[in-house]
Assembly symmetry: C2
Homo-oligomer: 393 residues x 2
DNA sequence: CTGAAAGCGCTAACAC
DNA sequence: GTGTTAGCGCTTTCAG
């Protein structure tokens, strides 16, 4: 039974009115100790505790915030006990209003249910828990679809968080929008997987140059000569770029390396795909039925590779026997595909740590000037699993 | 350039102090219209607008909230224009503090990066956007690991949201904890994929009876006689149950149906697995190498089935030729596995709609009494894809 | 129609 | 050590 019931008489004496209590038969939950749905809604405040303890409200506040002031032990004990019994929880809005701090950061992604974002979120979540911050996870895709103006959305967001991390920034928002927003709020911000030109916003990016190189070298060493690449179709639309921020870069590096290795740049082996596995499947079908069958295919992300795997499976092409497949990201299912994917793994833990540390640094040194943007680059790791092997003669 | 710059003189006249403006070379972002990082941080308030417009603060509030009072058109225009120019955004904390409403709900799952939760979140997110509510997505797994007491966590949460949805409730929190919390805060609440005994908390559940039946019937019709089942290993630990809430039920129904169809209940064909694909893989290996090879395997969720598929793949067992695989959930990758999974699909859109509608109903009719819990059951749909086919002789 | 004023719950500067 | 007091920005009476 909620503890406050014991205090009802006292509370009533202090002006509370008992609105209504409706009893209900114990039923099977009796053992949970709950037998009624009460209509009295009491949010205990420091003032309540103060009245009950017979001290001033500020004394209560001091005790509960462990202020660096000695409070007489007896009162302290009394207040603490009351807070415990009444199940006191500070009112966040009031505290925020007073302090101007939320202890909350926003993490915005294009789509928080995208597999890459999920991996980032997973790591950030566990890291944030240690840091005494909470996070708000925000997709901008849906908001946009609802015709909410990005600026509006961001402005509102800025009212409820101390800072924000934007994953795949130029996919989430146009650089210019982001910059304008940032300039108008000056809210601490870190972009992940994208560095905004101008050196005013800190960033954590992936070394796609190194990652792509490692992957291509791997395939070249395995003897592959016809290597295909599924890159992200670049779309122009009214509300901005919709290209995977690093996909284009990976493609660039790939083209350069292929040339360097004298493997020729066969345009038939480079296919633009939309960002979904089905399109990967279609790309796979095209590559398989083309005149110039590759012996290895790289996809710009794991989910596309899953489509490729399925296309090969459906057409009786053995992986890795007759076709090697590799990609980028290392989302969690990459190791459970059949066969398991060789992939350029992002170091999600590091990305999370770097971006959050940098953001919190900015938040807590808000006064620090001149502001200096920091840029971190995370090294990806090539994870060789089962989907790549030496080219069969 | 942020609009407030134009108002600086006026603002200064009203007591604002220009702390510092540091200029920076235009660089490449000049076109974004941002050329400096300002150190003046102005959060525009209704009071600011009031001063600039020469009216009282309450008039501004009335205009911005479209209060049902006629305001002289000239003033209205002026205020609106100023708000627009200054990029005014209401301070959420202040509004919340005053109104006692957040327009935010919490969605708590055991792990928000779990594939099932992701599908729920995806649908809830798009549905919520229409409803003018925001959501906070909360995992309790990490919090728990950080030794934050569930009660504490919930109590704090209750301070920043108007209601909450708990996905797979008994996995997230012990029933008793949830009930105690609920009783102590009386916060509107809906559980998803779990109905709390006692009829005091509304719920949206899946018809696992029907779903399991459809799946088993499907396999029986295909002629399968040795059907294996991977069920969720039930774990007892200090802080509660850790069994997939519906997994046990699916297993129960399966066992009953197998008996009904006279297929015998071979204990070797029923394997307990932990909730991860690797354990599914191990289970697959055991089943394959056992004396009594099944011709079909059901997993309690898609991710486990992926492990099974991989086990078959690695051991040269063709799916669906020599082995049919099926499972539950229909997470988004289920259609892109090789082969695509036959699965009992949860209707995520419906789950989202029902749970959110019910929650908002409770929030907005808070005064409504007597409170009446509502219980919705969502019908799953058997989606037959490529991983099941008639038993080969 | 509009302004003045109260107060949501909290923190912190200021008195005693 | 402790109480008093002043707001944080907003909504909403209550007077005019």
């Amino acid at each position: 039974m909620p503890y406050f019931v014991f205090f009802l008489p006292l509370l009533c004496k202090h002006g509370y009115t008992l609105v209504n209590i409706r009893l209900q038969k114990p039923e099977s939950v009796a053992d949970a100790g709950v037998t009624f749905r009460t209509e009295v809604k009491i949010k205990v405040t420091t003032t309540d505790i103060a009245k009950l303890a017979g001290v001033s409200q500020s004394t209560v506040s001091r005790v509960l915030n462990e202020a660096p002031i000695r409070i007489s032990p007896a009162r302290k004990r009394k207040i603490l006990a009351l807070a415990e019994k009444l199940n006191y929880t500070p009112n966040r809005s009031a505290r925020t209003l007073k302090m101007g701090k939320h202890q909350v950061i926003a993490v915005m992604a294009y789509d928080i249910t995208d597999a890459f974002a999920v991996e980032c979120i997973s790591m950030m979540e566990s890291y944030l828990a240690e840091k005494q911050y909470r996070a708000e996870w925000i997709s901008c895709a849906y908001a946009r679809r609802q015709k909410v103006e990005p600026k509006r959305m961001l402005a509102e967001l800025a009212q409820s968080v101390d800072g924000m991390i934007v994953i795949e920034a130029d996919r989430a928002l146009k650089d210019a929008d982001l910059l304008k927003f940032w300039a108008s709020t000056n809210i601490p911000m870190v972009t992940v997987i994208r560095r905004i030109p101008g050196d005013m916003i800190s960033s954590v990016t992936l070394d796609d140059e190194a990652g792509t190189t490692r992957l291509v070298e791997h395939l070249v060493e395995l003897g592959h000569k016809r290597i295909a690449f599924c890159y992200h179709r670049y779309k122009f639309s009214g509300d901005g770029l919709s290209c995977h921020p690093t996909a284009a870069r990976r493609h660039e590096v790939f083209k350069r390396l292929i040339k360097q290795h004298g493997l020729g740049e066969d345009p038939d082996l480079q296919i633009a795909v939309d960002d979904n596995p089905k399109d990967g499947y279609e790309a796979g079908r095209m590559l398989i039925s083309g005149a110039n069958l590759p012996t290895a295919i790289i996809a710009f992300k794991d989910l596309i590779a899953m489509g490729l795997i399925k296309a090969c499976y459906d057409h009786g092409i053995n992986i890795p026997g007759n076709m090697s497949i590799a990609s980028f990201d290392n989302i969690r299912i990459a190791e459970i595909t059949s066969p398991a994917l060789t992939t350029v793994a992002a170091n999600y833990a590091e990305i999370a740590r770097l971006s959050i540390d940098e953001l919190i640094r900015q938040i807590e040194n808000a006064a620090e000037k001149p502001f200096k943007a920091s840029h971190y680059v995370s090294e990806p790791e090539l994870i060789i699993r089962e989907s790549t092997m030496p080219r069969q003669q």
